[in-house]
Subunit: 435 residues, 3 copies
Amino acid sequence: VNDAGTAGLAREIEAYFDRLWPLMRSITGAGVRQSHDILSEIVPLERIEVPSGTPVFDWIVPKEWVVREAYVVMPDGRRILDIRVNNLHLINYSIPFRGKVSRAELDRHLHSIPELPTAIPYITSYYALRWGFCIADAERRRLPEGDYEVVIDTDFIDGSLTISHTVLPGESEREVLLSTYTCHPSLANNELSGPLVMAFLARAIAAWPRRRYSYRFVFLPETIGSISYLAHIGEHLKAKCDAGFVVSCVGNATPFHYKRSRRGNALGDRAAEYVLRRRGTPAENIMNFFVTRGGDELQYCSLGFDLPVGSMTRLMYGLYLEYHTSLDNRDFISFAALAEAVHVYLQTCRAIEVNRRYRTTLVHGMPQLGKRGLYPTLSNARNADEHIAAITSLIAFSDGATDLLEIAGRHGLDIELLDEIAQRCVAAGLLEAVG
Amino acid sequence: VNDAGTAGLAREIEAYFDRLWPLMRSITGAGVRQSHDILSEIVPLERIEVPSGTPVFDWIVPKEWVVREAYVVMPDGRRILDIRVNNLHLINYSIPFRGKVSRAELDRHLHSIPELPTAIPYITSYYALRWGFCIADAERRRLPEGDYEVVIDTDFIDGSLTISHTVLPGESEREVLLSTYTCHPSLANNELSGPLVMAFLARAIAAWPRRRYSYRFVFLPETIGSISYLAHIGEHLKAKCDAGFVVSCVGNATPFHYKRSRRGNALGDRAAEYVLRRRGTPAENIMNFFVTRGGDELQYCSLGFDLPVGSMTRLMYGLYLEYHTSLDNRDFISFAALAEAVHVYLQTCRAIEVNRRYRTTLVHGMPQLGKRGLYPTLSNARNADEHIAAITSLIAFSDGATDLLEIAGRHGLDIELLDEIAQRCVAAGLLEAVG
Amino acid sequence: VNDAGTAGLAREIEAYFDRLWPLMRSITGAGVRQSHDILSEIVPLERIEVPSGTPVFDWIVPKEWVVREAYVVMPDGRRILDIRVNNLHLINYSIPFRGKVSRAELDRHLHSIPELPTAIPYITSYYALRWGFCIADAERRRLPEGDYEVVIDTDFIDGSLTISHTVLPGESEREVLLSTYTCHPSLANNELSGPLVMAFLARAIAAWPRRRYSYRFVFLPETIGSISYLAHIGEHLKAKCDAGFVVSCVGNATPFHYKRSRRGNALGDRAAEYVLRRRGTPAENIMNFFVTRGGDELQYCSLGFDLPVGSMTRLMYGLYLEYHTSLDNRDFISFAALAEAVHVYLQTCRAIEVNRRYRTTLVHGMPQLGKRGLYPTLSNARNADEHIAAITSLIAFSDGATDLLEIAGRHGLDIELLDEIAQRCVAAGLLEAVG
């Protein structure tokens, strides 16, 4: 990917971002469906609707939330906390309410962050019935005494929970799973960065001339969505999934992080680490699986499934103050960083694609490369050195058990170059692919 | 343990210290029995007397040493090197001697440390017959020419070697062994710190409302004592002992050290490391098993027994110049440090007590905690975070093979909190205890 | 080895160096045979001649190269690039050529290094037919226009490839392999250091009163030589070789490096690491097996043989600019460093010799050492401490599976002292040798 390509991609992402930003997303509802419709323009997606009330393992799919309007009228008649201005103002899944309340009564239903006085917090209440508004602490402090008119025109209906997905078939039924969430309203890094990067990643992989693996892309609400999806297709994934990633928090121009799957050394873990280490990602940014914070990898890696699903992020949840507030917005992220994240995920998928085990056919001493035309031309010495390093490493370490990721990682070699040379060695009869 | 509790315990320890200090302890004899009588006031102990001449593996229990008096009269009639002034003056296990000797002849029987001119060294000669005195090097240099009258009124009798022990029974016959030595005369860190901390630890564990493990506390002379004890009860320990510690050198307000058992990853090793790492103990203070220096862990871990016995110390033998000299005295140690050592050993035993393996019952996705009332109240956010971290980690990692020590250690969680929440999860049917 | 011994050895090495330096070595030919004749004066060697055209695995032994003279006559009649002045001037394995050429035409056959203007590069062309000269870049730039007379009087004959070797038999048929190359002309660190150190090492080991292992020393041309040798004796080595080293680049007074065998933890790897760590060699100088650069270890460790052969070097190939140029000469190396390398290799072989597994006979508690006279005399306390550390470690860790290298390495002990004390313990019935 050259700079021009990245810049073009960044502009495309930006245009979609601006359309997705104002929609009122939640774990169910019209905002989700509209978002999925837009994402389907990037890569065609299939819809799954899971009816309200469906039991999914230990959970029950909640009623669908309908939001028509929500705002407060001040004693002087001015309208504030209007979700048309910022959809974070309303507690996500708020019950309906309509009435006049005193300032004190209203205050019991307000949420703000004193440490971040200009930030509107993002609050949800999916399973406890309550109403309320989120407000910048500075604004809250300025609210005068008097009567406030509260309008929350919401509803809960027997609808469904929306999941969209697609599978790009490959030569093998073995799958790579990519999953992201679409349940937060106007948040940038911790919402739109994930679906946007994943949709453009899917478009890029759809354009590959061949795929060894099949690639599954899933857009769903966090937790209840992945649990519903696992109820639908978990056993299939358990049988077929070789690698997976939760795509999330990839919007900032900061170093990448990687959270390993529970297994810790799964194919996807190894590919992500290979790619990030070559990028110079600090070792401490690569973390073992943990559940004290996290997203859908907690569901995919739950003991009954234990899928090989990790998560590659940039500025990870929990590492920034702006998280889950109105400060996680368009200005907070970088579209170039999003485009780069598409590229890094692509590299990771490419590493998975080309990773193979080979077996050297001539095992007694190094074979003579010159007579087979496998020695590089000597014009470009630097490149020639890499080429020789790759070919000798391939022959010396291809014992049928060691794969390209291991050879690349241990010896600081480029897996794409290893793959290219491995194909030439296979053609020359020096290597055989295994498995 | 709050500060007041620690201060009160420190004062209690100090009072016992002052009674134990002047007694002439050795590997056998009246001083040992008097010391054990005093320690029995803290926690009742049972006495084992191993008769002189008893073969114990490769050793024979030596005759019992009787000391009545020992001193030297200078040419000017002044009495020096009197064991009533400092019981380190006489070589421990010195043979009797009475006679007039020249300064030169006397000097051949004196021991001092030129590098520590004010220190009286502590010298023993249990198995080679000789007499002699230990003296500060500065004093030795001032001794005038002339005749010296030497009085060493000692004796060797067919008596016995004294061991005291107690077992606090628990619900299980599986045992935790705590062992300390009582064979050095007036030394503080490298003698009295061990038995005092262990006796008060025993008193505290005796007061627990329930014990899963049985706790065995043994007071004995170093080497010959533990070998004798192993001859007595080694096969029992081999069958029953799950964890053990030699309690020694715990008197100084310096960071802790831990010397692992030979096994290296035994239950006690893991508990001690968990506790010390949470205290911020430097990683290099936690050492693999070695025998170039050491105490009774060398006997407990000998190849024929290989018991899981490590040693948690503060300022360890071999790490301080005052070791085995009169400078290792009351001023050298801190009674608050001793009280804290009781507390740290207690925490370690508690970690052993609560350590269990659990199995999650609902393994498909995270179970819903809210409907079971397992979500913490949100009033105290910090505590709530820890609570959520604990409960999600418990459910995610309880695969029936991973125990609380592993979950606590890997994820920086408090094992007592994990235990408390595990009990609630068991009650709610989310976890089952295993084994 | 004391300083006087080292100095004497250094002088001996220097004398041989000066005789070997001017010979025109290559992968075949008279210069190799003359070199081996000289090395045979240090330690008697047996000759193997592998006829030209012999197939050896994937290779064919090339024709033997005969060089009579090679030089260029300048337009003004002066003779330059004469191999009698520096045998690097002629491309090694250059085809014959005789004729008048223009400056431009000559230049197409010249090789120099602009970054090192005073260095004559070392260039080979064993398998591609071409002629050419190597020249200092500064000299090349000064060559005037005009006609140059080129004389390259070389020849390719049906001869043979020369290998010399010897086996010093030991009590066991298990072998330690030492291999070095003799195929470069006048190069110091990256040629003569290897055969000289190895020949004097062989002389020293030949003088040992007893050897447990048999020691095999092989002098051969790089790559084609070791492949030929493996074709000859590879299956024997596969069955018998327990440790091995490629001796190379040991001429500089710089820290040692060690490149592990593919196995990584073979006996020789462990012995070399033990010796180098005791010398304070930085940990990063000890490297896992790699093939991006290297010598005959690539052949010995090829998958079909996988011999336990590593390489202990000082200033390793690839780590210095002077590599493969006329700057790698007599002034670049230190004869004291060569003598020291003999000593370090000897220590490594000694560590292999004395390494054994023992089993403690008295496993219940520490045995009493005093009554067996195994306690050291107390006159020299420092030495006594080491002695006690050694004997207690031997008894505590000799479980029949742990060998002396492991005990020495883990506990910072001297393996020669461990061996000495182990023999005394065996005599006293405290240890039994295993295996």
